[in-house]
Amino acid sequence: MWARALWLGLRAPLGGPRGFTSKTDLQGSGRITAEMIEHLERLALVDFGSREAVARLEKAIAFADRLRAVDTDGVEPMESVLEDRCLYLRSDNVVEGNCADELLQNSHRVVEEYFVAPPGNIPLPKLDEQEPFPHS
């Protein structure tokens, strides 16, 4: 318990992520709101079914926050461990395809060589419609 408090204390002020802006930035309090959970569930289709799962998420974020303690002023971020590799260029020849039968076997439902999907995205039930789980 005390370790966690220590981590929170060590956290440097938010410098802001470089490159991407994402709505999933923490507000800085370390707590995750129900609104945030709903947003994450919608984006990533994961199910935070219990308070325990949310707590685990908070711990994971706090753990990663230790990175902020490192001084990265003037250091270019590494975006990919492949950054020194050569990007292979393929010549423009047709070498694949014609395996519709094989691919369609993966689908639960098929209509005349088309994959079948529900019409549009199925919306997730809204927050107030969900089974509420105990917030601590």
């Binding site: 984006l43 289709l45 070498v95 395809g97 439902r109 994959f115 079948v116 999907a117």
Partner: protein, 549 residues
């Protein structure tokens, strides 16, 4: 939703002038048929119904519209951007799909060299700065036609930035004057296309065909420098021509190879920009102009009536001629961009930085690509004007119609007639006949050689101008006869015997000496008597001589 009242503020031409002079098109009425029809060639601006509102509405201020375009062009290549399956317009469903395209686990993207070259060529043609290092990212969203759940694109660092696209608006007081306008190109990026969804509302399901999934796209993002439907349509048309000339995309809107989304907002000049809406589902240049103008007017009407504009996505409804809200799209999408972990940065080189001893198939030299660029449309037009003395407007028309320029050049090669004559015949008569029967140049019954022969006969004064038109009409009937044959069959040759003509003139002359206007009547009589086989200029000359004697 009430249909917009189109204010008949200005005639089409004046409106186009406003576009050019003011730099911003004011929301006073939509074009009723602008002169730039001729620039656009086959696609003409739809005639808007005129709801006459004689007095301007109360509280009508000056409005300026701001239009930004995002254009997706399918790259013309044999295989897809990251896989070796074929790129083809129509094929049995899911037959052009590889394991990677179907996003089966364990598959990896492998970049197609041709697509990179296409992107560099397009960037160079649009005066962009080519980024020697560009990066690939994942853009996440859920939809059945995107099997991986993300699209590989270039959000952080695209392959080309900061370019410009110059297009010509036909306006100005002199006929045929074309005013060049420029729209800035924000960036060009490589990205994947998604598959196709066929909605089956009856059975409440969607059928997915992944043949298109993974095809390489060039996304060209234009800065919001455009201010009306006409400008947007002309700019897109010019981009289409450039892409087709480069060969990087066939850019056929009807086949979905060129798709345009428009971001539109209105504001009072001097004030901050308004809320913008995005209009999608525009699959022809004509509808693009129509949709943009409608949306501008809709926003103006809404704001003038005290309403507000929602930042939403709208779809253009062709039959109703209006935009409708696409309610099933969420207001704001969080795409959770992240670097594509399976692709290293894309590095391009030029003559100075080319690594020694590198495999030429693995490196791309920007300078080498620049050298292989073909002549761009704007340069071709300039050359036509200089070389053949035609109006700029004519050069636009020649380039606008597929195959017309080649036809024109073939006629020029084979005929002795003056270029101006050829231009006039090709653009007025030949093109007129094609349009009447809705034929492409390739389907023309008249070959360049035939037209060249006809123009030679005209040039040597063997036949008159009206006879030539008759011959052309005959040639169009596809009976396989040459112009020479038609002329002799129908006896259309001009009378070469001056003496016989003089006899005719004497015979019709009423003694109406001194009355110059009567001469036209006499010319008419002689023409009739000679069955139209005499050159009117010669008739006039003889009659004048006879009358004065």
């Amino acid at each position: 939703m009430a249909a917009p009242v189109l204010r008949r503020g200005c005639r089409g031409r004046l409106w186009a002038l406003a576009c050019v002079d003011g730099g911003s098109c004011h929301g006073r009425g939509a074009p009723t048929g602008s002169p730039s029809n001729r620039i656009r060639g086959q696609s003409s601006v739809a005639q808007q119904p005129l709801h006459t509102a004689q007095k301007p509405r109360k509280g009508e201020h000056n409005w300026a519209a701001v239009v930004g375009l995002e254009i997706h062009a399918q790259i013309s290549s044999n295989s897809k951007l990251f896989s070796g399956s074929q790129v083809r317009f129509s094929a049995p469903p899911n037959s052009l799909v590889s394991f990677f395209d179907a996003s089966l686990p364990g598959t990896l993207p492998v970049l197609n060299r041709r697509c990179v070259e296409a992107a560099v060529m397009t960037g160079l043609a649009l005066n962009c700065h080519i980024n020697k290092k560009s990066l690939f990212d994942r853009k996440h969203y859920f939809y059945a036609d995107l099997p991986a759940g993300y699209q590989i694109t270039q959000q952080r660092l695209p392959i080309a930035v900061n370019g410009s696209l110059t297009y010509g608006v036909s306006a100005g007081k002199e006929r045929g004057q074309v005013i060049p306008k420029t729209v800035r190109v924000k960036q060009i990026q490589l990205e994947q296309d998604s598959g196709k969804s066929l909605h089956d509302d009856l059975r409440s399901q969607t059928l997915i065909d992944l043949n298109r999934a993974g095809v390489g796209l060039l996304e060209v993002v234009l800065e919001p420098d455009l201010s009306c439907g006409e400008e947007a349509a002309t700019a897109v048309r010019e981009l289409q021509l450039i892409l087709q000339t480069l060969g990087t995309s066939q850019a056929n809107m009807a086949e979905g190879q060129l798709r345009v989304d428009a971001n539109i907002s209105v504001h009072h000049p001097g004030e901050p920009l308004g809320v913008r809406t995005e209009v999608k589902n525009l699959n022809s240049i004509r509808f693009l102009a129509k949709a943009i103008d409608y949306e501008i007017q809709r926003q103006i009407n809404e704001l003038e009536n005290g309403g507000e504009i929602l930042n939403e996505t709208r779809s253009f409804h062709e039959k109703l001629g209006c935009t409708v809200s696409m309610r099933d799209k969420e207001a704001k999408q969080d795409y959770r961009f992240m670097p594509e972990p399976n692709l290293p940065p894309l590095l391009l080189y030029d003559a100075t930085s080319l690594p020694i001893g590198a495999d030429p198939r693995q490196v791309i030299d920007i300078d080498q690509i620049r050298e292989t660029l073909p002549e761009l449309p704007s340069v071709t037009r300039e050359r036509l004007v200089q070389q053949y003395g035609m109006l700029p407007e004519h050069s636009f028309t020649l380039l606008n119609e597929v195959g017309l320029l080649e036809f024109f050049q073939n006629v020029i090669k084979e005929t002795r007639a003056e270029p101006k004559k050829v231009t006039s015949w090709v653009l007025n008569i030949f093109l007129g006949y094609l349009k009447q029967e809705n034929l492409a140049v390739s389907e023309s019954p008249v070959t360049p050689s035939a037209l060249a022969e006809l123009l030679d006969l005209l040039d040597s004064r063997t036949i008159s101008s009206s006879a030539a038109k008759q011959v052309f009409e005959e040639l169009w009937k596809r009976e396989g006869k040459t112009p020479g044959q038609i002329v002799s069959e129908k006896q259309l040759e001009l009378m070469q015997d001056r003496g016989a003509l003089e006899q005719f003139c004497y015979s019709v002359m009423d003694v109406k000496k001194g009355n110059p206007r009567a001469i036209n009547k006499l010319i008419g009589l002689v023409r009739k008597a000679t069955l139209n086989r005499a050159d009117p200029a010669v008739i006039k000359e003889i009659l004048e001589k006879q009358l004065s004697s």
